[in-house]
Amino acid sequence: MGTLLSVLLSGLLLGGLYSLVAIGLNLIFGVIRVVNFAQGEFVMLGMYATFVAYNLLHIDPYLAILLVFPLLFVFGILVQRFILQRLQNEPMMQVFATFGLLMLLQNLVLAVTGGAAYSIRTPLSSMAIAVGPVQVSVPRVIALAAVTAVALILQWGLRNTMTGKAVRAVAQDRRAARLMGIDVERTYMLTFGVGAGLAGMAGALLTPIFTLSPQIGGNFILAAFAVVVLGGLGSVPGAYIGGFLIGMTEALAGYYLDPSLKQAAWFAIFIIMLIVRPTGLFGLAGAEEVGLRVQE
């Protein structure tokens, strides 16, 4: 019983990590319709920024979110404004551009760090608490709490603020939104900025858990894309719940089946979902614009 609880809890916490990375990706994917291959590298940048803030400025990784989110937010706006917006009518070129960005960022960080694997250790990062018979890693609990808060805030913002409504309008129909007086380019920049900022925040929350490397973004991004498609493009609850679905599947398959087969297990669910419900859990069947519309 204790083992089953441990497995379930580890799946829940792992799901939190996946949701954390997927939520920003989903915003960009769902609203701007850009497959941002560099999203994992935004997470990686967030991790290195946190590392630098911790070592040079002695800022706790969790406080560093206040620094890293705005940094990545501005970086995202610049990427959208000066790279993706210029390729607005060439979706394939946008995809290539994000791939180019991936290579550029990885190699830049590699050149600066020389490829050394860095880590952060704080009193919180090495803390685990006992919940009955189960041991729980504190940094993972914090990540879960953070992604839950972010999902709630994001969902509330999209529903109740004018900016949020503008984002949803653009996601549904760019032309109609423009005719209604919404500044589409500004909305895209804002969305990409928030998506990148969320990736940076994810990076800060992941830094106490993982050893940093320039390639670490790639470890998260494949699962994050699966989460996005599974949950439904552009859907905040989709990304949130999709993360737990993948995390729980991975934990159960890893323990009860085989650790080397756990990715195969969630890929199988992913493929089944694509066949049975191609728009994802929270997507709207038959609509071109899926995801955010379902929140209407």
């Binding site: 490829g115 050893t211 790639g218 470890n219 650790p259």
Partner: protein, 405 residues
Amino acid sequence: MQRRTFVAAASVAAAGFATRARAADPIKIGAINPYSGGAALYGDETTRGYELAAMQANAKGGLLGRTIIIVRGSATNPQEAMAVVEQLAGRDKVDAFIGTFISAVSNAASEAALNNGKLYWDTQALAAQLTERGLPNFIRSGPNSADFAESSVNAITGLVANGLGKKPKDMSVWIQHEDSIYGTTIAKDQQAGLKAAGVTIVGVNAYSARAIDQTDVILRARNANPDVWLATGYTADNNLMLRTARDQGFKPKAMLLTGSGDTFETLDAMGKEYLEGILVVTYPRSDINPAYGPGAPDFLQAYRKQYNRDPIAPQGFTAFVGAQIMFQAIQAAGSTDYEKVRVAAAAMDLPVGSAPNGFGVKFDAKMQNTRAKPVIVQWQNGTPVTVFPEKAAPIGGKIVDLARK
């Protein structure tokens, strides 16, 4: 007649000039390693070893009377390996190749070197299959995966068994490994060795080094309740594994890592308190006893002088020694021709303890050096200290309590 004499004299003079010119030409050695990508740190460290060996040889008159020049060629995968070998052979006109710890790169680079008629001297790729191919230009001076597995088995049945006060047949071991050919091959040999020694293997698990959660592996290991936790992986996944073990309260009596886990990268991640007592199978480090590795202090001094810091990993020392053995073989062969070097290397017979890091030299029929063995280090107060073989332990160095607190 006079004309004939003149032509002959001119020919002799020209030949002499050509010989002198050739003698003055440097010997170029292409150093194949990853200088970009995730393994760049170790690629650079490895080539520093070659460069130090070349500097020292040049200070003593060079090789075959010629200055040695190390020409770097970056390769992180087999495709890049083939391309860079062609480039170095064609553009830079290198005379021979030396490289790398990435077995797949070594595999492709050595074949490409053979196509160009060049020697490929391997200092530290681990895959045992590399010498099994029977490539005529391939010689490996460093230990292979079987040596790492053998050392870990010897450590468990000797060092750890003594430390725990148990006989090997009363001990239980959990084996886990990352799932590429590197981890898989070592784990397979570890299983065979431990079984032969009568040790009970309570579980074997493969995992992906890219997985972001290892709780499943650790929970399985914890439930198996082994005496020894034996893990083969890379740095980042080993760190995650250790963190997960700590978080899950998994405390086997002894923990033994193979291949990585003895650098600042693991110390930064885990801290010295947690690492205390953990064992690592690794290349001979520069702290080894000079009675075992007679050139360790000199290497350390030369490295510090050249690079203004300590080596960050032991790979550079093994590369340094590998390059020295290569130079000796080339000197004995009188040429960089791979057939002649192979004959000269096969004739080398130096006992264990001859090389600066304690390696000996005796190649088997497949040109694997049979006298190059890893060592076991133990984390003690934040420093990896060599503890096995006992002769390699630094003066005053000894194993501390193995049991996990």
